[in-house]
Amino acid sequence: MSLSGTLAPPVSKFDHAQGHANAPVTLVEYGDYQCPYCGAAYPVVKRLQHALGNRLRFVFRNFPLTQAHPYAMVAAEAAEAAALQGKFWEMHDLIYENQPDLAPDVLLAWAEEVGLDLKEFGTAIKQGEVTKRIKEDRMSGIRSGVNGTPCFFINGTRYDGPAENDSLRTALEEQLSKEEL
């Protein structure tokens, strides 16, 4: 097959990750903050993390679909700017938990809620470093065979099933049993 659907580059210390670095299974999501399917996948991932505990590492990479979702890019910038203050997951979670209210002018209020230094936050967004990272994430997604959002990779291989708890759980458990052999 010429289309591999293989994660490139592999997960590294530069990624936003939750869970143990040496967990037997890593789930990578390429997501868009305004995409309703990613919004629906958010609690699914939380549930999987809860169920699998230390055996699962979760990584989030940006894949904003800017034509379809006008706020996807500003939301991604806000999360990346929060990451510079060590609060990526707080911002990531807050955005998905309030996805229907997402708009450029609420992001500042959310940044405050998360406890960010707002001046630093504003500067980080203006300087464009965060945008560069988001574009790199997107390009890595394209090269890895991302075909829509959310797009999941399990230990580096694209998962083509539905973004639902049962089928993702089954796929992760299968990978776990392979790793534990």
């Binding site: 010429s2 289309l3 394209i142 829509g148």
Partner: protein, 173 residues
């Protein structure tokens, strides 16, 4: 039916893109072309796939590649679909005789009466450089297309370098 493979000259065709306009492959000589055959407008996977390519126009435009969608749907169907999904890539109607162009490329599915989900990357000289037929239910993404375009760009650069070196004076002009 076997799809046309890399190294084959891409067969020319002329198909309507709007009720009063046609697009011919031969008009696009000198440009890289990506032909995206897909089964049908409106079906979920096709729309995700075309939506993705629509999103990735900035990445494709770096290679000056023209993306073209082709299905057996009629032109009015294409227009409504493109408007609804805000697609900016031309969609050609392989409608009459039905699937003739898909047949030319070896990607017509007789059973379903639709095109397969197939990709062809054609170089500026009109030669197919990469092709791929995806399982109908799976959106193939864009990595294969971009890899093909990148390798064509690399070849072109190395060729240009060879052509330029013997005539350094040309650069001054």
């Amino acid at each position: 039916m076997t799809s046309l493979k890399a190294g084959t000259l891409a067969p020319n065709f002329s198909l309507p893109s709007t009720p009063d306009q046609k697009v011919s492959l031969s008009e696009l000589r000198g440009k890289s072309v990506v032909l995206v055959f897909y089964p049908a407008d409106w079906s979920p996977v096709c729309s995700d796939q075309l939506g993705l390519y629509n999103e990735l126009r900035p990445e494709f435009s770096e290679f000056e590649a023209q993306i073209i969608g082709i299905s057996v749907d009629g032109i009015w169907c294409h227009l409504a679909f493109a408007k609804d999904r805000k697609l900016h890539t031309p969609l050609l109607a392989d409608f009459e005789p039905k699937g003739a162009v898909a047949r030319l490329y070896g990607v017509y599915n007789e059973k379903s009466g639709e095109a397969e989900r197939a990709l062809f990357v054609i170089d500026p000289g009109g030669v197919i450089r990469w092709s791929y037929v995806s399982p109908v239910g799976i959106n193939p993404g864009a990595d294969g297309i971009l890899r093909a375009l990148a390798s064509m760009a690399e070849h072109k650069n190395s060729r240009t370098a060879q052509e330029v070196t013997p005539f350094p004076s040309q650069e001054k002009a």
